[in-house]
Every structure is written in structure tokens, then in C-alpha cells.
């Protein structure tokens, strides 16, 4: 505050977010130019939008009056398949992720193993579920097996990366104490490393279970089993009350899973 005398008497002004003036102007102009370009290239058929609003209103009303009964057997089968896929894929995915996470932690694994495991994680994270599902459906045929494999594959990238980061930031002292007692490598992992990362592993697993369920709802769109196929049919036939019922069930299950994972995470931590 060297120029305090110059500032006296003048009202305070909020300092700008970007300090350099030319950069600020450039960012603003570029942003506005982009917005104009984007709006000009989007072709919106407003009369179609207007005509659809009535249908939109019908859909919103359908949420107030969802139809659980008339397609209840389809909904039940689809939901059960989604849940089965979710559970099986989470179990297998978590089972495969743990060794890969150990391999992808620099303080546990040697360099070649580390690079291989990191490459697996990168591949799994770069490919979206739905694209993997399309390819796996083409290879393995329609049905929940393709969905199960897709979700397992996606789980590996997510869980291994976060678990590996947790292993890398663990407390070395505890692990070294186990090693000093003459433990073998497996014993070292089991008694030195595992207890430290277990709370995080459980939390992440619950979170991934939640994500897998949400993803399993769309895999049916490409024929990989689950509730998605029923939902797609309901939309195609403009049966909004059935679609609303399915969406409500998804929301309720996700809320329940989130609550459950909150309780479990609070208990293990």
C-alpha cells in the first residue's frame, strides 16, 4: 500500500479476475466470438420445438402419474438384469482392479509393471462405456454378458487409478515396520498396506457400484442388456407414463445406494 495517499477519498473497486488487461479483453472477445459462431451453426427448428412443448408437458405430467403396472413384468425383468449386471461387474471389476492398483503404485511395483498397469488404466479410462459396449455387443452378441464385461472394464480404470493414488500416499512407517518383522511380500501387502487403504477401497467400491448401476441403465440402448432396452421402447412408443415410472425407479435406487454408501463410508472411516 505505497499509494495509500492516492487512494484516499476514492471508492474501492473490486480487483479484476484476470490481472493483465490485454489478456482479459482477449479472453472476453474470444469467448463472445465463439458464442456467436456456435449459435450461428446450431440449427434449431423452433416450430418443431414449439410443437414438441405439448409433448414435453405431457411427459412432466406423466411424472406426477407414473404407470408402474401395465408393463410391470418388462420393468421388473429389466431392472433385475440391470442390478445383476451391476453387482457381478462390480465384484469382478474390483477384483481385477486391486492387483492392477498395486502394480500402478510406484512405491509397491517395479518400473516395468508400473508402466504396464498405468497403460491399462489409461486405455480403460479413455474409452467410454457405450463405445466399449457397442464393440462388445458386436463381438459377444446381444445380452447381459456384453454389459457385464463393459462395466467390469470401466470399473478397472476408475478404481485402479484412485486406489493406486491412495497406495502411493500411504504411511511408509507402518509398512516398513511390517517389513522389519521379517514379513514376506504377500504378508507385507496384507498387514502393512491393506489396512491403510481399506477404508478408501470400500468407499470407492460403493461409489463405483452406484456409477455402474447408473451406467447399466443406458447399456440396453445398444443391446447390452438391462433396463435401457425397456426404457428405449417406452420412449419410442411415446408411453411417457411407463418411461417416467422407470426413471423414478432409477432415481430411487440411486438415492438409496448413495445413502447406503454414505452410511458405510461413515462407518469405515
Amino acid at each position: 500500500m505505497s499509494d495509500v495517499n492516492a487512494r484516499i477519498g476514492k471508492p474501492w473497486r473490486k480487483p479484476p479476475l484476470v490481472q493483465r488487461r490485454w489478456l482479459r479483453v482477449l479472453l472476453l472477445v474470444g469467448f463472445i466470438a465463439y458464442l456467436i459462431a456456435a449459435f450461428l451453426t446450431i440449427e434449431v427448428n423452433w416450430s418443431r420445438v414449439y410443437a414438441g412443448l405439448e409433448r414435453g408437458q405431457k411427459f412432466v405430467l406423466a411424472f406426477a402419474n407414473p404407470d408402474f403396472t401395465s408393463r410391470s413384468s418388462d420393468i421388473w425383468e429389466g431392472m433385475l438384469e440391470s442390478i445383476i449386471m451391476t453387482v457381478a461387474a462390480s465384484v469382478v471389476g474390483i477384483g481385477i482392479s486391486i492387483p492392477i492398483a498395486l502394480g500402478a503404485a510406484r512405491n509397491v511395483a517395479p518400473l516395468p509393471v508400473y508402466l504396464i498397469c498405468r497403460a491399462i488404466i489409461a486405455i480403460s479410462r479413455a474409452l467410454q462405456e457405450i463405445i466399449v459396449a457397442i464393440l462388445l455387443v458386436a463381438i459377444f452378441g446381444f445380452g447381459p454378458l456384453a454389459g457385464f464385461l463393459t462395466l467390469s472394464f470401466a470399473t478397472i480404470g476408475f478404481l485402479s487409478k484412485l486406489l493406486a493414488e491412495d497406495i502411493e500416499s500411504m504411511d511408509r512407517v507402518q509398512a516398513e515396520a511390517i517389513k522389519a518383522s521379517g514379513a514376506r511380500w504377500t504378508q507385507w501387502i496384507n498387514y502393512g498396506v491393506q489396512p491403510q487403504v481399506m477404508p478408501r477401497l470400500i468407499g470407492l467400491s460403493m461409489y463405483r457400484l452406484d456409477i455402474n448401476f447408473r451406467e447399466s441403465a443406458i447399456l440396453g440402448l445398444v443391446g447390452a442388456g438391462g433396463i435401457g432396452a425397456t426404457l428405449n421402447t417406452a420412449f419410442d412408443r411415446y408411453e411417457y407414463d411407463t418411461a417416467a415410472a422407470i426413471l423414478l425407479i432409477i432415481i430411487v435406487i440411486v438415492m438409496a445406494l448413495e445413502y447406503l454408501s454414505g452410511v458405510i463410508r461413515a462407518r469405515v472411516q
Binding site: L53, I84, A126
Partner: protein
């Protein structure tokens, strides 16, 4: 410490008898549930196709390679559409997410009893439905095209952005807010000068993070007809033009990697 007496010699045990029984029951239920799930999946699988899978996979691989590089000239517009869907969708969702976040945060909500549950319901319901499903729904309502994709991405992102933002608002430093209040500032001034500066870094981080996710999601929205490069992907898949599919997948992969790199750089610069 659980200790077992083995012929007069004390042996350390990890768990007491009751604990290990509990663990054993837990594992047994887990294995039983998994076995049931696997049996159901197996029952609805045509195993002949699975045994045939390696041959099919290598067949698709030979059809898909080399990618049809000339086709890239037709991908310029779809890529631009994809970028627009992600960016405009993110901007709209942020505009909508800010008020929801303020209504949902425990320290800024006008009414914890009535308004907060509604805001939380908006957050949960928009978050738990995938953008592809939103796109399906919006296509039925406002017709196929880029606009449906933008709105789908916008709605889907509200929950995510609002959730992270309201957690940031709940973690603010109350003393700064109190200092602004002590100067006699109105409710809105307290928000603008006491709360907003504290959550601005988090806000920028969330925006870029969500933009990165939205680029990923918008590449596949076209599969259901909501514009972008996914439209090309689905039409190529429908005519079994595997070399084109290979090229499109490579382009999508590149877009995802670039957006992740940009988002990591920007977040690194902000935080």
C-alpha cells in the same frame, strides 16, 4: 488383542472368534450373491457366440484396419457440433447450477425445511439419469438435432456442478462473511463480496472438469440422434463401414485425450 492359546503357547490372531465368524458370513453372502448373478448372466448368454468371439474379433479387426483416412474431411462439422454441445451445455448448466447450489447449501439456503430438499431433489434426479437418457427424452420432445444434445448435456450437468458447488459453499470461511456483514452489507452484497470470491476457484475448477466430462459424453450423444460425431458413428455402424468406424473412434479418442489435457492444464493454472 485377540490371542489364541495353542498347547500353552500364545499365538497372535488378527480377529476375535466372533469377528472372524462375522467376516466369514459376510464373505459367504457375497459369494452366494455373485454366484447367483453370474448364473443369471450365463443363462441369458448364447455361449456359442462367446466361444466364437475371438474369430469375430479378429474378423472385425481385419475389416476395420486400416482406417479410412479420407473420411476425415467429412468429420469437421460433426466435431464442431460436438464441441458446441459440450461447451454450450456446460455454460447453460453452470448458469442453472449456481442458484440451485446456493439454495442447497446449508449456510446460504433461505429455508432448510422447504427449499433445501427441493434443491437436493433437483441435484439427485438430474445426476442419476444419464445424458443419453436425457437426450432420448429431449429428442422425443423437441426433435433430433444439436439443440437436443445441448439441452441434454445442460440438464445432466446441473446436478454434478450444483453438488460440488454447494459442498464448496458449505466449506467457506465464515469469518470473512461475518466481516462483510459487519460493514453493514445487504444480503446480496454479502454474497457478492463474502461468499463468491471464496468459491470462485472451486467454481472455475468445476466448470473445466465438467466441460472435460461433457466432451466425452457429447461424442456419443449422436448414437440416439442428438447431433455431433456420434451421429456419424451410428450411421457408419449401421452400414457396417468398419474402416470409417475405426477412424471415428480414433478421432473420439483424440478429442477425449486433448480435452483431458486442456482441463488438467487449466485446473493446474487455477489452483
Amino acid at each position: 488383542m485377540p490371542v489364541q492359546d495353542l498347547k500353552g503357547q500364545k499365538v497372535w490372531q488378527r480377529r476375535t472368534g466372533r469377528e472372524s465368524l462375522f467376516h466369514w458370513v459376510l464373505w459367504l453372502t457375497g459369494v452366494a450373491v455373485f454366484a447367483y448373478c453370474w448364473q443369471q448372466i450365463s443363462a441369458s448368454t448364447t455361449w456359442f457366440f462367446v466361444w466364437d468371439a475371438p474369430r469375430i474379433a479378429s474378423d472385425i479387426w481385419t475389416r476395420a484396419t486400416p482406417p479410412r483416412w479420407e473420411y476425415i474431411t467429412q468429420l469437421g462439422k460433426p466435431i464442431w457440433d460436438t464441441l458446441n454441445i459440450a461447451t454450450l451445455g456446460t455454460i447453460i448448466s453452470l448458469i442453472l447450477a449456481v442458484p440451485v447450489a446456493f439454495l442447497a447449501a446449508r449456510n446460504t439456503t433461505p429455508s432448510a425445511l422447504f427449499v433445501r430438499p427441493i434443491a437436493l431433489l433437483i441435484i439427485v434426479s438430474t445426476r442419476s439419469i444419464n445424458s443419453l437418457i436425457w437426450a432420448l427424452l429431449l429428442i422425443a420432445i423437441i426433435g433430433p438435432g444439436v439443440f437436443a444434445g445441448v439441452v441434454a448435456i445442460a440438464i445432466r450437468s446441473i446436478g454434478f456442478c450444483a453438488k460440488l458447488l454447494y459442498e464448496a459453499i458449505e466449506e467457506i470461511d465464515e469469518t470473512q462473511v461475518e466481516a462483510i456483514t459487519a460493514t453493514g452489507a445487504s444480503r446480496w452484497q454479502v454474497m457478492a463480496y463474502g461468499i463468491v470470491p471464496q468459491i470462485l476457484p472451486a467454481f472455475a475448477g468445476i466448470a473445466v472438469f465438467r466441460w472435460d466430462i461433457n466432451i466425452r459424453e457429447s461424442t456419443v450423444l449422436g448414437l440416439v440422434g442428438a447431433g455431433g460425431i456420434g451421429l456419424q458413428l451410428s450411421s457408419s455402424l449401421n452400414v457396417l463401414a468398419w474402416p470409417q468406424v475405426a477412424l471415428i473412434l480414433l478421432v473420439i479418442l483424440a478429442a477425449v485425450v486433448i480435452s483431458e489435457w486442456v482441463s488438467a492444464k487449466v485446473r493446474g493454472a487455477i489452483i
